[in-house]
Symmetry: C2
Subunit: 137 residues, 2 copies
DNA sequence: ATCTATGCAAAGCTTTTGCAATCGT
DNA sequence: ACGATTGCAAAAGCTTTGCATAGAT
């Protein structure tokens, strides 16, 4: 997938990957930037973006591109789907096995050659459900 | 869904809705703008955006928010999924019936209350497949 | 007459890019 | 030493917003 596999394992790249691997919260680039900054105060947001692109190309991470205005990143490379909270934006992994492509659609594909799918559930996360009970509306 | 259902049926709103209804190509705001401009040369892109938001609130259209950088709009209000061409960005309706939420996931939802899902298939559209045969790579 | 909607331009937000300096190999 | 990578700032791409004017009811 990467055109040029040559890479230099810079401190920035290392820390960005390490911190993303610690999280299961699928941070946005800006979110991860704030976390990485705690270890590398001088890092720039552009470096975080560039490394996330590079690490995706190299197959270390996955760019999620779910709904919402910001892309999210995931170091969990196994095929899995996500649930996104419509209130707070939080994204969690779905424990359940991914759907079977073949079963989902019985009809024809209109001439398309299918290569992948993107499935995202929308819901209200436990914390936001709790909050709703106290302050409805 | 609309906070304030009061509305004025302006020429712009009418034409924007009419043109979107003619299409099954799920245009972006900019794409629809180009089409609407043929009938209303002085219309502004901001008006198209504002009306698409308003028409979504009023339930006349649906904002798709699939992958990709631009939002797409659909006047087909029936529950249906989409296929997006990874080469040219074209979005088509899936004829097949939508998947059944309950069947897709057997396991627990991690405390989430599920309200909706978003399913998008990625593939290569007929035209791009054709092109590939001539100029592979 | 009232008050929403429009057109224009400017601003906002996320992401990308140009450039000189830095650092990994 | 070579050239990929960085930090900074500027730019780019999509969408929203402020404001004065036009227009629907």
């Amino acid at each position: 997938m990467a055109e040029n596999p040559i890479q230099r394992w810079t401190r920035q790249r290392e820390v960005i990957l390490e911190e993303l691997r610690k999280l299961n919260s699928h941070p946005t680039a800006a979110g991860l930037y704030q976390i990485v900054r705690r270890r590398l105060p001088k890092v720039s947001l552009a470096t975080v973006y560039r490394n996330l692109v590079r690490l995706s190309e190299l197959g270390y991470v996955r760019k999620l591109d779910l709904g919402g205005s910001e892309a999210r990143f995931d170091a969990n490379l196994e095929r899995h789907d996500h649930v996104r909270c419509v209130r707070c934006g939080r994204v969690d992994d779905l424990r359940s096995p991914p759907i079977e492509l073949g079963r989902a659609v019985q009809d024809d594909w209109g001439g398309y050659e299918i290569v992948d799918y993107r499935l995202e559930f929308l819901g209200v996360c436990p914390r936001c459900r709790q909050r709703t009970k106290r302050e409805p509306g």
